[in-house]
């Protein structure tokens, strides 16, 4: 009789557990700042809004994009035609039409009330509705990045915002996405429930809760006790603990962020010689850094791009082999047989074990006779020095996450030297001048033919490879802690899209 009682109790507990099992809890470090999907700068906010809204184009796990709410095609260098999938409805019943989409563009282009995403759509001149589901977008100059920027166009409802105002909307969002907004208790939780009428299919997870847990070890503890299902920014040091817990495991994905060291800040001295810069690339053992400093959570890379980015070329991005002998030979040829000394800055705590990476590079360069005076800097001071070009060292370590997934955002922004007459001035992050490179990169901004652009970027990468303006290190991996009951693979764009997730027994 007693045994039967226990069995019943166990069954009751199990069924209770099953009911609670419908809810997926995601813990990030901070709360959202707003739920307006185009008026923030933070990944944690975007992760919440991505579940409530849809973007016009969506990003695929390999970094490419595809039409989502509709399709766009170039009519000529300055005109695009957009066609919306018919029958898509917002959670409040409002239909997504060309008028609504025009409202979205107008809202972003309003100079009086700029939104944080307005900058992505600056080249657009005006938008014209041509049918119930079609519209034309005219740009001031060729806008080759238009399609990739459409992944930033998270579509909001027109009538709802006009009726309730933007402030109310930012706290009570209504979208077309896989989840409906339920409630937001600031600094505690944001509750979402599946939109069973979702146009792309019924979501598998019933309820999703986002919780902000600032302290990394508290996030890990919650994951290990089953309090949460997914945590972000798992430290490599915590990976063995999580994997050993039996309930959760670490899952990682190469991110869009490359880590590298910019050389030749002063434009004179040994670092100004391309041979010396090449030597430094051969003198650094990228494999060893990834293995020992990053616990394997990185991928060595030999160019400014990575495989997710349009314009990447595998042959030109192979990591420079670790070859100290070759490095010494190159240094001798450049006139530094006994090495030399230079200074380098690096942040601490900004990127995965950044300080230790910098220290490892210093140690390895010492082996070929090059001494580095390393200065670790506090992030806000560092950012100011970088932005104002007031660095007091010959080299600096930085990470670059190319969220546009297009070579332009890396090559132009970080390396353009301003040598083209009548062209833009040198990019503020660039300390390298290569007229040929500059020409290719500028040309790629002027045309919308993606095949021609790809060829231009291949040529530009050849120049980068030969000029070695940086020490190329690695592509960083994002590490998540995930409960074993959750079927999900992390994405390179850091998005936590619950529509991808499933709870399994």
């Amino acid at each position: 009789m007693q045994k039967l009682g226990f069995a019943l109790l166990a069954a009751a507990l199990l069924s209770f557990g099953f009911a609670a099992g419908d809810t997926l809890v995601i813990a990030q470090g901070v709360d959202a700042t707003t739920l307006d999907p185009v008026n923030h700068q933070e990944t944690p906010t975007g992760n919440v809004t991505a579940n409530i809204f849809d973007n016009f184009y969506r990003r695929l796990p390999d970094g490419s994009y595809e039409p989502w709410l509709g399709e766009a095609k170039a009519l000529d260098n300055l005109t695009w035609e957009l066609t919306i999938k018919p029958g898509i409805k917002f959670h409040n019943g409002e239909e997504l039409t060309a008028e609504v989409l025009k409202f979205n563009f107008d809202r972003l282009l309003d100079p009086k009330k700029p939104l944080k995403y307005s900058t992505y759509f600056k080249p657009i001149e005006r938008v014209e509705v041509t049918g119930k589901y079609t519209l034309k977008v005219y740009t001031k100059k060729p806008f080759p990045l238009f399609l990739t920027r459409l992944t930033y166009l998270w579509v909001v409802p027109k009538a709802y915002i006009e009726e309730n105002g933007a402030d109310y909307f930012a706290n009570h969002p209504v979208g077309t996405g896989p989840y409906r907004f339920v409630k937001w208790v600031k600094d505690q939780e944001i509750d979402l429930v599946a939109n069973d009428a979702y146009w792309a299919g019924k979501p598998k997870v019933k309820r999703v809760v986002f919780r902000p847990i600032p302290e990394a070890s508290s996030r890990v503890a919650e994951l290990m006790t089953g309090g949460v299902d997914v945590i972000t920014n798992l430290a490599p040091e915590a990976v063995p603990t999580v994997n050993g817990s039996g309930v959760a495991e670490a899952r990682s994905v190469p991110s869009i962020r490359n880590i590298f060291i910019v050389l030749d800040v002063k434009g004179e001295g040994p670092l100004h010689d391309p041979k010396v810069r090449l030597a430094l690339n051969y003198a650094v053992d990228k494999e060893a850094i990834v293995k020992h400093v990053l616990g394997g959570f990185g991928v060595p890379v030999g160019c400014p791009l990575n495989p997710y980015i349009f314009g990447y070329d595998k042959a030109l991005c192979e990591p420079f082999p670790y070859d100290p002998e070759k490095a010494k030979k190159l240094l001798a040829e450049a006139g530094y047989p006994n090495g030399f000394t230079f200074t380098m800055s690096a942040p601490s705590g900004r990127y995965l074990n950044d300080r230790q990476v910098a220290e490892a590079v210093v140690g390895q360069l010492k082996k070929v006779g090059v001494k580095v005076d390393l200065r670790i800097k506090e992030w806000s001071t560092y950012v100011k020095q970088i932005l104002n070009r007031k660095l007091d060292t010959d080299a600096w370590l930085i990470g670059w996450g190319n969220a546009q997934f297009d070579a332009d955002n890396t090559l132009f922004t970080l390396l353009y030297g301003g040598t083209v007459e009548g062209g833009p001035p040198q990019s503020k992050f660039s300390y390298w001048k290569d007229p040929e490179f500059d020409k290719y990169v500028l040309e790629a901004q002027q045309i919308v033919d993606q095949n021609k652009r790809k060829e231009l970027y291949r040529k530009a990468l050849e120049r980068v490879r030969a000029g070695a303006p940086w020490i190329f290190l690695h592509q960083q991996k994002d590490i998540y802690g995930v409960a074993k009951r959750v079927k999900w693979q992390p994405r390179p764009d850091e998005l936590l899209w619950a529509f991808d997730m499933e709870i399994v027994k």
């Binding site: 070890s217 006790t225 955002n409």
Partner: protein
């Protein structure tokens, strides 16, 4: 008495002005926050635009004057991150912080005073040694370390209590112990010393001589006199509790002011930092006033004019 209150309340105003000024200039020294607010690759025009929008391009005295003028009108500015009024954001997080500080204080009083009395009465015994050792430990253990140990033991290993979050009494337990331990230890030590001193004094000897029970002697006479320094320390420790809340709230994901202001500092959200500093300062000034008033009630000899 009325004059005293008026004077003290005026002083509270001066404290608020001082805090506001300090917050303004310290933040100003840390540089304008536009560099941190925008992504690295934002255009110079976007930076200039934002700088203009927030008035960071005006001369210092203009910015300071405008800031004070707005404060006088109850305008603490708008959060640079969420575009909502800064004061509202801060005050919205105050109840959770007060709840935690209150629970911490209650915990400290309920545990610290009896422990201190016990140590005084049992002087020279194992009980005193135990209380004093624990008190020493409680005062020396760093808050974040204690918090993590509690999470490990009661959350991870025993599964008795929730690790983070807010809402139920169970959620309150670990943060309360974390934030209250230091204060408990201080109160216990102070109570012990106070009671010991009072027990040696003349009036206690008199009380005993006239045949009062030991219970009345200790609790009605000695403890009441020993309470004055304890009240002082409680007032002072409320500051510790509030600042301890910064770390405790972060560890336990407690939705209070401490954690909120820490994030605002990291993100360069000036208006929110300034509003928090002023609110914290006012809170402390009022607590000090309350302590002074408590003396009146405890010690009839104290008179304010």
């Amino acid at each position: 008495m009325i004059a005293f209150l008026v004077r003290r309340l005026l002083l509270v105003g001066v404290v608020a002005w001082g805090a506001a000024t300090l917050a303004f200039f310290l933040l100003y020294l840390s540089g304008d926050p536009v560099d941190l607010l925008l992504p690295l690759d934002a255009s110079p025009e976007a930076r200039a635009e934002l700088r203009r929008a927030y008035g960071f391009d005006d001369p210092l005295y203009v910015q300071y004057g405008r800031y004070l003028w707005k404060l006088l009108h109850g305008d603490f500015g708008v959060s640079l991150r969420s575009q909502e009024p800064a004061l509202g954001l801060v005050l919205g997080r105050m109840p959770a912080t007060l709840e935690l500080a209150g629970a911490g204080l209650l915990f400290a009083l309920l545990l610290g005073i009896p422990a201190g009395v016990l140590a005084a009465l049992k002087k020279g015994t194992l009980a005193e040694l135990l209380v004093m050792t624990l008190a020493l430990l409680g005062q020396s253990i760093p808050v974040y370390f204690l918090g993590l140990v509690l999470i490990m033991v009661f959350g991870l290993k025993l599964h008795w209590l929730p690790i983070s979050g807010y809402g139920t009494l169970r959620h309150l337990v670990l943060p309360t112990i974390t934030v209250g331990t230091f204060v408990t230890a201080s109160i216990a030590r102070l109570t012990r010393n106070g009671v010991l001193q009072e027990l040696r004094s003349d009036y206690v000897r008199t009380a005993r001589a006239k045949g009062l029970t030991e219970r009345v002697v200790v609790y009605k006479h000695a403890l009441r006199n020993a309470a004055i320094p304890v009240v002082t320390i409680v007032g002072l420790q409320l500051g510790t509790l509030l600042s301890g809340a910064v770390i405790t709230e972060t560890i336990f994901a407690w939705p209070g002011m401490g954690r909120f202001v820490l994030l605002a500092v990291e993100q360069g959200d000036f208006p929110v930092v300034q509003a928090s500093v002023i609110v914290f300062a006012l809170l402390l000034a009022l607590v000090n006033l309350a302590v002074d008033l408590a003396y009146l009630w405890l010690d009839p000899r104290v008179r304010y004019a």
